[in-house]
Symmetry: C2
C-alpha cells in the first residue's frame, strides 16, 4: 500500500486503531485508503474522469470490495459523522437559552472540530462536492436525512412541539438553507473567511428575521 498519501492526523488515528480488534483495524484502514486515493485522483484528474476501477487499482483492492465499503462512487466523498456531536452540545444548553441560540452554540462546537482537525482534506472535499452537480445533490440528500432529521428531533424535543409541526419543520429547513448558504459563501472566498464564524452570522441573521435594507 502506497504511503505517499496526504496523512490526515495519522498519529491520532493509529493510536485509535491500536485499541480495536485486528479485523476492525483492517477494515478502517481499507476504508481510509479508498477515500484517500479516491480524493487524490478526483482532485488530480476530475471526478467524472476517474473511474472506480482506477480507484481500486490505486488502493489495491477489487471493485467488489469498493462497493462493499461505499454503496456508490459518490459516497466516497460524503463522509460526515458530526451529527452526534451537534445533538450532544445542543442538549447540554440550559433551558433558558433560545432554540436558535442553542443551535448556534451547537454549531460553534461542531464546526471547529472538523475544521481544525482536517482542514485541507475538508476543503478539498467540499470544493469537490460543490463542483460536481451529482455530488452537490447527494450532499443535500445526505444533510436532509442526517442533519435535518437530528435538528427536527432536537427542536421538537426542546419546544415540546410535534415533529410534524409546521413551525418545527420550517425552522429546521430554514437553518439547513442558511447552512448551505454559508458553505457556498465560504467556498467563494476560497475558504479565506472562518466557516464557523460564517455559520454563526448566518444563523443570527436568520433568527433576526432576515432583515434586508
Amino acid at each position: 500500500m502506497s504511503t505517499s498519501l496526504p496523512e490526515r492526523s495519522l498519529e491520532r488515528f493509529d493510536e485509535y486503531l491500536r485499541r480495536l480488534p485486528l479485523r476492525e483495524r483492517k477494515k478502517l484502514r481499507t476504508r481510509r485508503a479508498i477515500q484517500d486515493h479516491a480524493l487524490r485522483l478526483f482532485t488530480e484528474r476530475g471526478y467524472g474522469a476517474t473511474t472506480v476501477d482506477q480507484i481500486c487499482a490505486a488502493a489495491e483492492i477489487s471493485p467488489s470490495t469498493f462497493f462493499r465499503y461505499f454503496p456508490t462512487k459518490e459516497d466516497v466523498v460524503l463522509d460526515d459523522e458530526y451529527d452526534p456531536i451537534l445533538a450532544e452540545v445542543f442538549r447540554a444548553q440550559p433551558p433558558d437559552v433560545s432554540v436558535m441560540d442553542a443551535l448556534r452554540a451547537a454549531f460553534r462546537a461542531v464546526f471547529p472540530f472538523v475544521y481544525e482537525n482536517e482542514r485541507e482534506p475538508m476543503i478539498d472535499r467540499v470544493r469537490l462536492m460543490m463542483a460536481e452537480p451529482a455530488l452537490r445533490a447527494r450532499m443535500f440528500e445526505s444533510m436532509r436525512s442526517g442533519t435535518l432529521a437530528v435538528m427536527v428531533d432536537l427542536v421538537s424535543e426542546r419546544t415540546g412541539l410535534d415533529r410534524a409541526d409546521m413551525r418545527v419543520q420550517a425552522f429546521c429547513w430554514a437553518v439547513l438553507g442558511v447552512l448551505h448558504s454559508a458553505m457556498y459563501t465560504w467556498l467563494d472566498s476560497d475558504a479565506d473567511v472562518d466557516l464557523p464564524e460564517l455559520v454563526d452570522q448566518n444563523l443570527k441573521f436568520l433568527g433576526d428575521g432576515l432583515p434586508l435594507p
Copy 2:
C-alpha cells in the same frame, strides 16, 4: 401511439400546438409522450424497476431519441418552468412592498398556476420525486440552479445589495429551505391542504423570525 394516457388539459395544449411549425409540433408531442408514458410506468411499477428501454417501447421511440430529449432518466420527472412567472410578478410589486412580501405575492401567483392547471400529474410527479432519493437530490439541484438563482437576482435587484452579499444569499437559501419544508408538509398531508397557502404561511413565519414557543 396509445391514447389511454392521462391527458393533461389536452385541448389547451393542442390549441397551442397548432400555432407552431410542424417540426416543433412533433418534437413537443414526442417529448410529452415520453414524459406521460414514463410517469405512468414509474407510478405503476416503480421508478427503479422501470428501464429506459421500457419507456422507449411504450412511447414507440428508440433509446437514442430518449436521451436526445432528456439527458438522464431523472430529467423526465423534473420539468419545471415557472421561474419566469415568479420573476415577472415579483418585479411588478410596488417598491414600498417589502422583499418578503413581494416574494409571497410572487409565489401566490405562480403556485396556483401549476396547481390548478395540472393538479393530478403534479401530485404524482412530486410524490415520485420525494419517494426516490435520486430524484429528491436532483430536484434540489434543479431548484438551486433555477429558482434560487432567480431569487438572488430579484432580491439583489430590489435591495441594491450585491448578489454575493451574505444577506442576499442567506435570505434566498432560507426561502428555498422553507419551500422544501412546505412541499414535504404538503405531501405528508396527502396533498390535502392547499399548497399555495402552505407556502405563504411558511414565508410569513420565516419573515417573522421563525418564532418558536
